[in-house]
Amino acid sequence: MRIGIDLGSRTVKAVVWQDGAIVRHQVTESGYEPHRQALAFLEQHPAARVVATGYGRHLLRQHEELSVITEIKAHALGARHLFPGCRTILDVGGQDCKVILLDESGRVTSFQMNDKCAAGTGRFLEMMGVSLGYELEEFGRAAADAEHGTPINSMCAVFAESEVVSLKNRGVPPGTIARSVHLAVAGRLAGMVAKSGYGDHLVFSGGVANNTTLVRLLELELGVAVLVPPAPSIVGALGAALHACTL
């Protein structure tokens, strides 16, 4: 039995791998002490070999004997397992967005990652949704239903929020603003992907890939197929579990 555990900024993801398949997976809120969520999960499977990834990987290693890999390697392994030929991966999580390029054999050849700025991340979408009074799922749906958006110029979470407030006060309907925010994020992510270069398709992983409106806008923006795995949040944890198989 192998376990991959991905300690992200918003959620902790765990995948149990046995006999060549995922037998169990779990996504929980990170909370204040994310390693406790992870340790509670690991206690249920004391005999497993574990690999940790994500922002909290080193924190967990202080509490438990295990190996760590970066999110970049984890997502590369996970995405490659789900889409064997893929060469470009876009991963957007709570606080990071990254583009990972692979060679034919699946080796990482280069990657791009945002610095400390939250632009284009799940956190950004969440903040904008909150300031419009939407729940997360509603936010994407409202954006899909709106016919058009209005340009949002700032991708800084702080400035964009004041832009959203001023749009609200100009009487722009919330659905239109929701669409605008999605268009702005899709534009930013597409720019990041275009900078790295991409082939005829792209794998989109991370919690933000659950937002189907964003996926569609990204396809329109890039003009290629954007492939989303059935559970995009657990791709990193899956990659970590797969890495555990090689140890």
Binding site: Y55, I72, K73, S110, F111, M113, N114, D115
Partner: protein, 430 residues
């Protein structure tokens, strides 16, 4: 040794220098702690590092006393911010040249009371050190000699002049014959400014001796860097960076002697197979913008992530010591021309075109036996940031793993940087 290490205090000296003593008195303790964590925790350091440890212990005291003694004897003490300002001419006048570049987050809040926030952290840190009266070197100098290598610096000098006399040397941005004509004139003006403080005009013999002194200093660093390229590494990247930083405030003759002593020790280490990390350790070269003391952020992340830094293509690094001045001159005029020619070889990204730097980076990559390059750009340094595009292209053409990062002195991005550095190491090791 690690129990004994302590950055020293001397409130009497600091009072005399007009520092904000109440505020500064916390600094030695903070530096002691940071240095202990970053440097003294390393295993198997060369014994010769003891001297450089002591230079850090004396950074706010012993070395300041030495500099003040020179100043009280009527010799010039000049602060600089750039490897383009010719220290040979200060040494020729019997004076002290101190590199003042600010490398600490602590003084940035002082600077931001006056300067815009979105400019280079090094410029802000340096300016803040003076405004906050929290740098003994800044308090000790007769004047600051700035230059025009970037917009943030050039315009900050106008404001800095209100706190300390600040002269500006014009560094051209192209390297044509007419630029050289201007450059030589600027070097002559610099010499005149130095001589004015000294009250004498330095002549051929003094300049020749100073050129020889600084050539020897640069040559010792070249020698050390060559030894350091050996695999397995006989010295850590962090220790090498520290020595490169100390080069900017230590007395040059003693510094050269100590670097050469360390080189002898490294020769022996290599012969005996003693190293700081096994030969299989991933080897990373850093290129880009300078890292002023105490900016050890990137090296610390790289070396605590299981790799070793094997070269700094940086102003604090090879850009400072890769070129020497021809010592065959027979007149002062000729000396100043040879000196200018040497300085014109420095390949800062403020020049256009600057393709020789791309070649130099590739050469140093090969010489150092590195397996990948991390290009380090201080936030808002547009010229290095844009030049990284050409550097990336050159690396991609040659199959050299390359990663560009942009960072400042704040700890906010350490988590993301660590992930990126670790992923880069995974990429190198496959």
């Amino acid at each position: 040794m690690s129990e004994a290490f302590q950055v020293k205090s001397d409130t009497e000296l600091w009072e005399k220098l007009g520092m904000d003593v109440a505020r500064f008195s916390g600094m030695p303790g903070m530096l002691t702690q940071a240095y202990t964590n970053v440097f003294l925790s390393q295993k198997n350091r060369p014994a010769g590092m003891a001297y450089f440890d002591s230079m850090v212990e004396n950074i706010h005291t012993g070395r300041i006393h030495e500099i003040m003694a020179v100043k009280e004897s009527g010799k010039p003490v000049i602060g600089t911010f750039c490897v383009y300002v010719p220290e040979e001419l200060i040494v020729a006048a019997g004076g002290v040249c101190v590199g003042l570049c600010g490398g600490a987050q602590g003084s940035i809040a002082d600077a931001e009371k006056i300067l815009p926030r979105n400019i280079c952290p090094m410029v802000k840190s340096a300016f803040g050190f003076k405004v906050g009266k929290i740098c003994p070197y800044f308090q000790a100098v007769d004047l600051v000699y700035g230059e025009t290598t970037c917009d943030a610096k050039k315009k900050t000098w106008e404001l800095l002049d209100r706190y300390v006399p600040t002269h500006v040397m014009e560094i051209p941005q192209m390297k044509r014959e007419r630029d050289k004509v201007l450059w030589v004139e600027e070097v002559k003006d610099f010499k005149a400014a130095v001589d004015k403080i000294a009250g004498t005009e330095t002549g051929f013999a003094e300049i020749a001796a100073a050129i020889s002194t600084i050539n020897a200093k640069r040559a010792s660093l070249q020698r050390l860097n060559n030894l350091r390229h050996h695999n397995p590494s006989p010295i850590s990247g962090k220790d090498m960076l520290l020595i490169e930083q100390i080069a900017f405030y230590d007395e040059p003759v003693r510094f050269t002697l100590k670097v050469n002593e360390l080189c002898k020790e490294l020769d022996q280490r290599i012969a005996d197979g003693i190293a700081v990390a096994p030969a299989s350790t991933p080897r990373i070269m850093v290129s880009g913008t300078p890292m002023a003391l105490p900016n050890w952020k990137l090296h610390n992340i790289i070396e605590t992530s299981g790799a070793v830094v094997v070269n700094e293509e940086s102003c604090i690094g090879t850009r400072y010591y890769k070129d020497l001045i021809d010592e065959g001159s027979t007149s002062v005029e000729e000396q100043l021309e040879r000196l200018t020619e040497r300085y014109m070889k420095i390949d800062c990204s403020c020049f256009t075109p600057n393709d020789e730097r791309i070649d130099q980076v590739i050469k140093e990559y090969r010489d150092s036996g590195a397996q990948g390059i991390i290009d380090y750009c201080l936030q808002f340094c547009h010229t290095y940031n844009i030049e990284a595009i050409k550097l990336r292209e050159a690396c991609e053409q040659r199959g050299i793993p390359f990663m560009a990062i942009e960072s400042d002195y704040s700890p906010d991005d350490v988590g993301q940087l660590q992930t990126r550095v670790e992923a880069f190491i995974e990429q190198i090791t496959g």
